[in-house]
Subunit: 420 residues, 2 copies
């Protein structure tokens, strides 16, 4: 039986097939995301992967249903796997925000699901690092969130040569639009044209802009001049104070497709332009009120960073963690008379925090040693028959093939001090 | 809008309502499970939460469908949220086991879903620590797996006074049944009666046993005598060698409800008997072949440990982690002229691994200090105007209210050495 198309299996390393993903790489991303978020004082939350369908249609309209994994459950409820996290965040914040001090700095690492018509290799699920700040309208919050985004990528080994955060402003575009619009109600249509500028034929863009009261030249000039709004200036200053200015640039071609952004918008890209956006986000000061049916009205902003593009980029730049060192010690059982004592030694090592393997059943010494090498063990350790001085251990460092004979307690201390 | 009944929200501490769960407690369980599994040389895997429906009906029959979150997707596929992990494990192992050395020692922490008729407080999802060993028939593998189970609970702070693993054997019961059965094809029926002995009225059990050719007294005597099989003896010896014998006891009342167990079966219980089983598992040497349609035929065993009963037990025994210490430093910005330099200091601290908060917008000093206390910070740090000796920091240890003035680099060193 096959897994469903568009879904992934995560295997232990080395992954057995080209379309198999690595569970330890995934765990590496999650651990780094979590670690950076905590350094920034963000607190973890999560909701169910299954939510009432209405939670998603309220925000995105009935059209979204065509892209959802939705169904009617056995209790007759219309439900859906979550395609994004923001509606769940809004629901949870609406229920409980009064019990937390503002601003809320929250993060989550949900798995998200979208039923998209199958394209070759196109996934229908991914994991996404979501970070949001609720309850702070000042651009200081935008700077804090963008700094978190930058440090999330740096924590994974990426540098300013690998990526850049392109910073823009819906406010700036709204003002530009309001100054020249033929019909002020068509702002979202205008944003969509700007969003597609880099992908669409110039004639198409020009014609659509003309209908809205603009020339392509005007729009291009506005992008090229790129005068920062007061908010963007404040954000840039705050990032400079953190010594992070080199990781961002003003770029008004970024506008973000979604309707609900209200201020700063940004996207992180690889500098070589080989991949889709690594992450994106912005301010959505009116969205919580909309989704919560008026129950919570907080200014807010956030970003999402998916695991798929990020993993591809890390692989391309050689920044995935090395596989070595998954095992600290392989305990050799050369003499079955030593098995009981060896099991006791295995247990002592594990209790001291070491990652330990041993042959569960009798096996030839050279097969055991080969297995230790395959598993990438740092040490092999072989218990020797207890002499008058008590039990002793023959320790071998597999990197150097250096060998020692030590009393058991000393061997334990030596291994644990290196196991870290 | 409410979340679906039977599903949980996980909030940052302190959780805002009685029915809200703690994201950091969940993360604590996951981190400990993962850490112990790695010490035992188990490797992580995961599959999709959504699988072809058939994957579950092959193993459990069509009756299981009534308990599933199943539906037809937009491509006409019959799919289901996973109610358990073993079918996914079998599918993944069948596809790739030839590329791994045996035995496979694999673990996962999936979220599992069951549509059960709603009972008050009954959940429809939970997280489960799953560990399995594939490809080793020797009881040495049973001992290794049970040792992992014991150490998973000990890693969470539980002791031999809190829990015990009750050890039994389907083989022993099968032999007992075969010796006296009126009809040898009714073994599973017999196991079901034994499984319910502690919950059913003695007359009911006696009558059902009579139909199968046994008296209740015979069965009770077999349980009380509890003579270990050779496999159970080997397991007990191995656990003794690891100094873990005090955590298990032979108990033939345990038989496990499911049809597919073939040898050792076991369940972990709290000693006071206040909770449902904490974990359970056993040998299922024929199951992989069945689920994989003959593609993989490996002896196997495993256990599952859910997060719900375990969290209740840890709370009842006072073993949940303390909330203190989620923040290392709160950087006070007493003088707005110091904001830029303070942001630089915040960044330095975070880059050194500290968890740092600061006031994003101007605020009175006492409000800032109160916030530092609320957040449980270890230190407050306030940058002082640079004098001729360079920048200085006023550091305060909030536990003792001790205060120092130090050069910036020294303050950084002092905080980071304690941040761990």
């Amino acid at each position: 039986m096959e897994r469903l198309p568009g879904f992934r299996d995560f295997y232990p390393e080395p992954v057995p097939a080209r379309d198999a993903w690595s569970a330890s790489v995934r765990q590496h991303l999650f651990a780094q995301w979590r670690h950076v978020a905590e350094r920034y004082g963000f607190r973890e939350y999560d909701g169910p992967p299954l939510e009432p369908l209405e939670l998603f249609t309220v925000k995105s309209g009935a059209e979204i249903v065509g892209q959802l994994y939705n169904f009617t459950d056995k209790g007759g409820r219309d439900v859906s796997l979550r395609p994004e996290m923001t509606p769940t965040l809004a629901r949870m914040a609406a229920a409980a925000e009064r019990q937390y001090k503002k601003p809320l700095k929250w993060f989550a690492i949900p798995q998200l699901f979208r039923y998209e018509r199958q394209q070759k290799g196109r996934l229908r699920e991914h994991f996404q690092f979501n970070a949001d700040i609720l309850g702070e309208a000042d651009p200081a919050a935008d700077a804090e969130l963008i700094a978190l985004l930058i440090d999330s990528l740096r924590a994974l080994g990426l540098t300013g040569e690998d990526f850049v955060v392109r910073l823009s402003s819906r406010t700036a575009w709204q003002e530009f639009f309001d100054r020249g619009a033929a019909d002020r109600s068509r702002a979202y249509e205008f944003f969509q044209v700007v969003d597609k500028l880099e992908r669409e034929a110039p004639e198409t863009s020009a014609q659509r802009l003309d209908e809205l009261g603009f020339t392509l030249a005007q729009v291009r000039e506005f992008i090229e001049r790129a005068e920062p709004t007061a908010d963007l200036q404040a954000i840039l200053s705050s990032l400079s104070a953190r010594n992070l200015a080199a990781y961002v640039k003003l770029d008004y071609t970024v506008i973000r497709g979604l309707a609900y952004y209200t201020g700063t918008v940004f996207e992180a890209f690889d500098r070589k332009g080989e991949f889709r956006a690594i992450a994106g986000g912005g301010r959505y000061d009116n969205l919580l009120k909309l989704i919560s049916g008026g129950k919570v009205d907080l200014p807010a902003l956030g970003f999402g960073m998916g695991d798929v593009v990020l993993t591809e980029l890390l692989r391309a730049r050689g920044r995935l963690p090395a596989r070595e060192g998954a095992l600290d010690v392989f305990v050799l059982v050369a003499d079955e008379a030593q098995r009981t004592a060896s099991l006791g030694f295995v247990q002592q090592l594990r209790e001291a925090g070491s990652r330990v393997e041993y042959p569960m059943t009798p096996a030839k010494w050279d097969r055991q040693f080969k297995r230790a090498l395959e598993l990438g063990a740092t040490w092999t350790a072989q218990l020797l028959a207890a002499a008058n001085g008590g039990a002793a251990v023959r320790l071998k460092a597999l990197a150097t093939r250096e060998e020692f004979e030590l009393p058991l307690a000393d061997a334990l201390g030596r291994i644990v001090s290196r196991a870290g």
